[in-house]
């Protein structure tokens, strides 16, 4: 089956007008990108090798190979159902691969003991799509949860560290500490979620579609915050998104996920110049192209993360 790259006259915000119209056979369209060596001088923190995962008959991840370097902001782009959430759940050690491995700082997550996973997760903060704050708890209790429940720190230390984390995400700590999440705006909830993710001073932060459902001003605010945290704390950030502007604003490198494989990995320029039809359609936002055809035939497999 041959597919055509973006054929309607869309405008590429990141590389200019779309020019290329080329026939791509399905095998070439879905072929994974070869493993890209890390940028010179960078130390590899996370190694993902031949990672596969299926839910029932549907293969969600079909062989992911990538190296993520310490201190970089690595953005994973992809359409709905491409496997982004399944991939990030493997990085969180919440799913076990059918085959392949995720090795972080020498630790194979699939073979790690529960104690090793506790230690790994202490070094990792996660910002969920809808912040995932516990509605029955106040902002103080939510942000301080890892300190009270895992590290069992005294109340005054927890309070001080929560105030510090809230200030780092530019929230008025004194005014919101005792509020429940339902009293906060979407943008504030997201920032509280980020504060919770950084309270244990992690070396890795995973962002699962951090700007979904926010207005453009708040989206920019969250993107700037992501950049600032990365620069200030020197953390490795892995961001899953389908927001192109966000991706090009914050990324050091971008990987594009399509049908469970990375079809392109590289810096912003390499991604912007890549002629792959899926990438062209993502970049132009065109309504015709391989992603549209997939949406029309797609069915979410039972058990797959949403």
């Amino acid at each position: 089956m041959m597919r055509r790259a973006a054929t309607n006259p869309g405008t590429d915000r990141h590389t200019g007008p779309v020019q290329q119209v080329e026939d791509w056979p399905a095998e070439r369209l879905e072929a994974g990108s070869p493993l890209v060596p890390p940028p010179p001088g960078k130390q590899v923190l996370m190694q993902v090798r031949a990672l596969t995962k299926a839910f029932g008959p549907r293969r969600i991840l079909r062989g992911i190979d990538v190296d993520i370097c310490a201190g970089e902001t690595f953005v994973i782009l992809g359409g709905s159902g491409s496997g982004k959430t399944t991939l990030i759940k493997h990085l969180m050690a919440m799913l076990t691969p059918d085959s392949g491995s995720v090795v972080v700082d020498g630790l194979d997550l699939a073979k790690a003991t529960p104690e090793q996973l506790v230690e790994y997760r202490k070094k990792m903060g996660v910002v969920f799509q809808n912040a995932a704050l516990l509605n029955s708890l106040t902002v103080l209790e939510n942000v301080g949860l890892p300190l009270t429940e895992v590290e069992q720190r005294p109340a005054d230390e927890v309070r001080a560290r929560v105030v510090e984390a809230l200030r780092q995400v530019f929230l008025p700590a004194d005014e919101i500490l005792d509020l429940k999440p339902a009293s906060l705006s979407g943008g504030m909830r997201k920032r509280v979620g980020i504060a919770r993710a950084i309270i244990q001073k992690p070396s890795i932060i995973l962002y699962d579609e951090p700007t979904t459902g926010l207005d453009p001003v708040t989206v920019n605010g969250v993107n700037e915050l992501t950049l600032q945290l990365q620069q200030k704390l020197g953390v490795t950030s892995i961001v899953i998104t389908h927001d192109l502007d966000a991706a090009f604003m914050i990324a050091d490198r971008i990987a594009v996920l399509y049908k469970g494989r990375f079809i392109a990995v590289g810096d912003k320029r390499a991604i912007g110049d890549n002629p792959h039809p899926v990438l062209r359609q993502l970049l132009t936002g065109s309504t015709t192209g391989p992603l549209t055809e997939d949406f029309l035939t797609a069915k979410k497999p039972e058990g797959a993360p949403s």
Binding site: R121, L133, N135, S136, V150, Q152
Partner: protein, 263 residues
């Protein structure tokens, strides 16, 4: 049709296996009971105090209805003086624990399943896991424990209020003194009746707590899934409460009573 029945049996066997595993993990999590104090108090408030008023109302009304219905039949045979014993035995052995279970299931079990279901679909449970907070210790153990503490207390209250309702109606409708009613109840009832009711309420608490939490944590597919989890909690809990009641009655009457030399 056969395939459908087979699928349903397998599905329910899977739920039963999951519930047993969840209960085992919740019991193991009891060793961290100190860290869950605030959660346990919060759940006790919801499960216990919140259910008192409605349970008293229902138990009182049931005692009154039983007194009117049974009293008019007993009066025909001239044995009205046994009314206290009949209502007392019915409440202590059956009505008290069953009403407490039904009220707690409707008020608390359904709400637990909906709350945990919403937390699951909103990724709050995932957030706990990535913070290395065991959801069974943090969410499930306090809920089951709170039910295990509050259900026997609620059952005792239902027994008392049901008897009181029956006694008041017996006096108003049949003119029998309260003292006669209570002496009749005391004469027939022994500790075994009362404690068997309390034991049943403890078992019902475990069943309702475990099924509610399991259904909540197994929720999928957004708001629709939360609704399905809540309905499944009510249906499964009521079936298992009545089934376990029947089994416990059988053991009590056929095994324990002869063993203890009681008639």
């Amino acid at each position: 049709m056969l395939a459908e029945v087979g699928r349903s049996i397998l599905h329910n066997a899977e739920i039963a296996g999951r519930c047993l595993s969840l209960l085992g993990r919740a019991l193991l999590a009891l060793r961290h009971i100190g860290r869950g104090r605030s959660q346990i108090v919060r759940q006790l408030d919801m499960a216990g105090f919140g259910s008192i008023l409605v349970l008293c109302l229902i138990a009182g009304l049931t005692g009154m209805i039983m007194a009117v219905q049974t009293g008019s039949e007993l009066e025909k045979f001239g044995v009205l003086k046994n009314l206290g014993a009949i209502i007392g035995a019915t409440f202590c052995c059956e009505m008290g624990p069953i009403w407490a279970a039904v009220i707690v299931l409707a008020r608390v079990g359904a709400s637990m399943a909906a709350e945990l279901g919403t937390m699951t679909v909103n990724e709050e449970v995932d957030a706990l896991k990535v913070m290395s907070i065991d959801p069974v210790r943090y969410l499930v153990m306090p809920r089951i424990l709170a039910l295990m503490i509050s259900m026997p207390l609620l059952t005792t209250m239902a027994d008392f209020v049901g008897l009181l309702g029956g006694a008041l109606v017996t006096k108003a409708q049949f003119g029998q003194p309260l003292r006669t009613f209570m002496e009749s109840a005391q004469g027939l009832l022994d500790g075994m009746d009362f404690y068997s009711g309390l034991f049943k309420s403890l078992v019902f608490a475990v069943i309702i707590g475990t099924i509610s939490c399991d259904q909540g944590l197994a929720t999928k597919n957004g708001a629709e899934g939360v609704g399905r989890a809540t309905t499944a909690t009510v249906v499964l809990s009521i079936v298992f409460v009545l089934l376990s009641d029947h089994i416990m009655n059988y053991i009590l009457l056929k095994v324990i009573t002869p063993l203890m030399g009681l008639t």
